[in-house]
């Protein structure tokens, strides 16, 4: 049932890959060829899927499960442009999920934080004055979100992860604002 080539697949795709890009076999950069990316994922997912090792030893089943889980996590992170950018920052030593003063998200200035508080208040005012005002605000924030991501990808391309991380943190605040406009919070 389990032929040697399957075992080789497992060895080749085991947890030895050092990062998500390597795991999927795609270049370590933000720009991505969508078609090639999906193709690479499908091929690898097929090769290490636990179902292929249903009749195998428990060791093989374990290896297939681990390889699949790692691959799927890599796919989840890299398929999304925002998470992909955040992950590139992480590889460069800046973790935007952490508030560690050295390796964590860059601190945003007082000015920016005050601006965000004011904009949140503006959302409540817009909500009170009707859907048209809220829609206008939404359009504005959506544009800024896109701009923030563009800034981050440009910074990554220019090998400036610090600037990229700053843009991504700003983007998170804006995303939060958008969620608030949509009433998701």
């Amino acid at each position: 049932m389990v032929n040697p080539s399957r075992s080789e697949d497992l060895e080749a795709l085991s947890l030895t890959a050092s990062d998500h890009f390597e795991r999927l076999g795609v270049p370590r950069r933000h720009a991505v060829d969508r078609e090639a990316f999906e193709q690479a994922y499908r091929e690898r997912a097929q090769r290490v899927h636990p179902d292929r090792f249903a009749g195998g030893s428990s060791g093989q089943q374990r290896a297939a499960m681990e390889a699949s889980a790692a691959l799927n996590e890599a796919y989840r992170v890299l398929r999304d442009p925002v998470r992909r950018a955040e992950y590139l920052c992480q590889l460069a030593g800046i973790d935007v999920d952490s508030n560690d003063p050295r390796a964590g998200a860059p601190a945003m200035g007082q000015e920016f934080l005050i601006e965000m508080i004011e904009r949140r208040e503006a959302v409540e005012e817009a909500r009170a004055s009707g859907p048209a005002a809220l829609d206008a605000l939404r359009g504005e924030v959506e544009d800024e979100l896109e701009l923030a991501l563009d800034t981050a990808t440009a910074a990554l391309a220019a090998d400036d992860p610090q600037a990229a991380a700053r843009a991504l943190v700003k983007r998170r605040y804006l995303q939060r604002l958008l969620d608030e406009i949509d009433g998701d919070v």
Binding site: R42, M65, E66, A69, V185
Partner: protein
């Protein structure tokens, strides 16, 4: 929650393989002996597709493939299926239907009307149904009764024990509901190869050739409206890979809701404001029949004798108006799934209809307008899910089969409660499974030596609005300054979308074991106890059958001996008085053994039969010889020889089975 133990010391490995809950993993799989089961809200069925054969659903003795998911506890012996279904009106509280709606649910989740007496036991949150049995039953045990019947049906067909089963679950089932389904399978004595999402199973059954441009590529929506659950899945098919992009739905929305709405309408028409359980059950059954008829007819007549409603007309337009608000709820879920998949409606190449409720014309019209294409329904929507499960079961049993790879997703986000009751998502919904993810948490004060881990599933921000899966406490954390402790929590989802949580303290690698109690599930020990109990029951069932068979056999022998003793009457020399008295005495003993005071054990009954046979054997032999002599006068030598040969052969055969056993009525006629 799939495991009971959280151990601190398994640093490194993402997956704990030596799970205490999975001792059966790696058990030998027998190719071709895997079965697919669709465990549905209203009906269930089993299909097989051994060694690459096309799938086929297995019927009962009367040719019926669908087994009503109804279990009657009215008699001591549990009755499942059609027999139970017709008895629902007798005592609705003790005949359980639509048990799937209770799977993995807590009392507070059960907001719909039902005729059952529910409760909980001790500090467990598992719902228990008081159905008149000595001990109340859990929904998992009720489901296990249904699974047992289907397993037996498959074994009769295969001619050997089932190696393992793929059981389908609604894609939108959460962890607790999936775990409950898996537990039901184990209680029924099944090795569960896989829990498979129903829409994914349907896609598998349709196969690649039916789809898209013929090259097995395309983007499809599977719309699955069953009796009690609704699922929508968006799939991409590409060269043998079925990739679920997004799934959504409502695990408490289905055709049963249509029935309830129609029943309410009928009771209102009958001017019954406060129906009792019997009236409600009658109205529900009438509503379902009317709904089904209105798929083909424009109007039907409905009567509710218990509520005094006679020949009430119901039109399809009326039906549509009653059910439309419910059916519309599915459209919102479809839109969200498309959005999650990042797909535009116009990119969808086709829509597949699954589930009996998609026979309703209004539902078909809604689907066609939502996806802007005519839905596919070539395969029986009631059977297509079981077909897909059978194909997957064949693959997982180890058969060499033209395989496809299923990449399924988790339907609901998984996370942890953090400070202030906020949920921190660890694995987002629609992530491809299996998957593992970790998050590091820290301490908030130096005095903190423990941490409550509350595992949640759902999309809402607040823990109170999500589904609680498990709660446990880590203790013995090292005393460290605020924000210095590093506690890593790993979530691992397996291919069944079942969750395992692991925790470890990174600074010290402290070692500790914590028991996780699933919030709405059975504890591992309770499942084990039920599995053992079902094995005990298997012995009881076996004994009961042996006893019944022994009685029938004894009855047959008694009747035969009595008849021949009476018939012989005064035939000279055939039955001396002394021997007649012996036989009569043995007959009396045998009749006593069969009576209500007789033994309840098949060996004692068999002993009584053997005694009777022994006593009557010489008489039976003489009768046979006499009959032979009488019969042979005037026959050719060849005929006589042939008859004797037959006789010798018969004797030999009897001898090989049981030296003392002859058939007393031989030659009596």
């Amino acid at each position: 929650m799939t495991n009971d133990d959280i151990s601190w010391d398994d640093a490194g490995a993402l997956f704990q393989i030596e799970e205490p809950s999975a001792p059966t993993r790696g058990r030998e799989r027998r190719p071709g002996c895997g079965i697919g089961i669709d465990l549905g809200t209203t009906h269930s069925l089993v299909a097989i597709a051994p060694h690459g054969e096309p799938p086929r659903a297995l019927p009962d003795e009367e040719g019926r493939v669908l087994l009503p998911s109804v279990v009657s506890y009215l008699e001591e012996a549990v009755e499942v299926g059609h027999g139970a279904h017709v008895r629902r009106v007798e005592d609705p509280a003790r005949v359980v239907s639509s048990v799937k709606r209770f799977m993995g649910r807590g009392l507070e989740d059960i907001a719909f009307t039902h005729p059952y007496q529910l409760g909980t036991d001790g500090d467990s949150s598992v719902v228990r149904m008081h159905v008149g049995t000595a001990r109340p039953v859990t929904p998992m045990e009720v489901s296990a009764e249904i699974l047992r019947v289907l397993k037996a049906r498959a074994e009769a067909e295969l001619g050997e024990p089932v190696s393992g089963a793929v059981i389908t679950v609604p894609a939108y089932f959460d962890d607790a509901q999936r775990q409950a389904t898996k537990d039901a399978g184990r209680i029924a004595g099944l090795e569960i190869y896989r829990l498979l999402a129903e829409p994914t199973a349907a896609a598998l059954a349709y196969g690649l050739d039916k789809f898209g441009d013929g090259g097995g590529r395309g983007l499809f929506a599977i719309y699955d409206l069953g009796g009690g659950t609704f699922d929508i899945s968006i799939l991409r098919l590409h060269d043998g890979v079925f990739q679920v992009l997004a799934t959504g739905g409502d695990s408490a929305l289905g055709g049963d809701d249509f029935d309830r709405a129609v029943a309410q309408h009928l009771l209102a028409a009958a001017k019954v404001a406060q129906p009792d359980a019997y009236q409600r059950e009658e109205a529900l059954m009438a509503a379902r029949t009317a709904k089904e008829s209105l798929s083909d007819l424009e109007a039907v007549m409905v009567s509710l004798p218990r509520s005094g409603l006679h020949e009430h007309a119901l039109t399809r337009a009326q039906l549509d108006a009653i059910i439309e608000p419910i059916a519309r709820r599915t459209v919102a879920a479809c839109r969200l799934a498309l959005k999650d998949a990042g797909v535009h409606t116009r990119e969808i190449d086709g829509v597949v209809l699954v589930g009996g409720s998609t026979r309703v014309p209004l539902v078909r019209a809604l689907v066609a307008s939502t996806f802007r294409c005519e839905p596919l329904c070539d395969l029986d929507p009631d059977q297509v899910v079981a077909y897909g499960a059978a194909v997957q079961a064949d693959i997982l049993s180890g058969s060499e089969r033209e395989g496809v790879t299923l990449l399924d997703v988790v339907p609901l986000s998984l996370g942890l409660e953090t400070m202030g009751g906020i949920v921190e998502k660890i694995i987002p919904r629609n992530a491809t499974i299996p998957i593992g993810a970790r998050q590091v948490f820290t301490n908030y004060s130096e005095k903190q030596t423990g941490m409550v881990i509350h595992v949640l599933q759902g999309e809402r921000e607040l823990a109170a609005d999500c589904r609680s899966l498990a709660r446990f406490e880590l203790t013995g954390l090292p005393r460290l300054p605020p924000s210095m402790a590093r506690i890593e929590i790993s979530f691992q989802l397996d291919a069944d979308a079942l969750l395992t949580v692991t925790a470890r303290e990174l600074m010290t690698g402290i070692k500790q074991t914590v028991e996780v109690r699933p919030t709405y599930g059975l504890a591992e020990s309770e499942v084990d106890a039920l599995v053992m109990e079902s094995l005990d029951h298997a012995q009881e069932d076996y004994d009961a059958r042996n006893l019944a068979e022994a009685r029938v056999e004894l009855g047959r022998v008694v009747l035969a001996v009595r008849t021949s003793v009476q018939e012989v009457g005064a035939v000279e020399g055939l039955l001396p008085d002394e021997e007649r008295a012996q036989i009569e005495a043995a007959l009396v003993q045998a009749e006593l053994a069969m009576g209500p005071e007789g033994p309840r054990e098949h060996r004692a009954i068999n002993a009584a039969r053997e005694a009777l046979e022994r006593v009557s054997e010489p008489f039976a032999r003489r009768r046979m010889e006499r009959a032979l002599q009488a019969g042979m006068s005037g026959k050719s030598l060849a005929e006589i020889e042939s008859a004797l040969a037959d006789e010798r052969e018969l004797d030999a055969r009897r001898g090989s089975h049981d030296p003392e056993m002859t058939t007393p009525d031989h030659g009596a006629s």
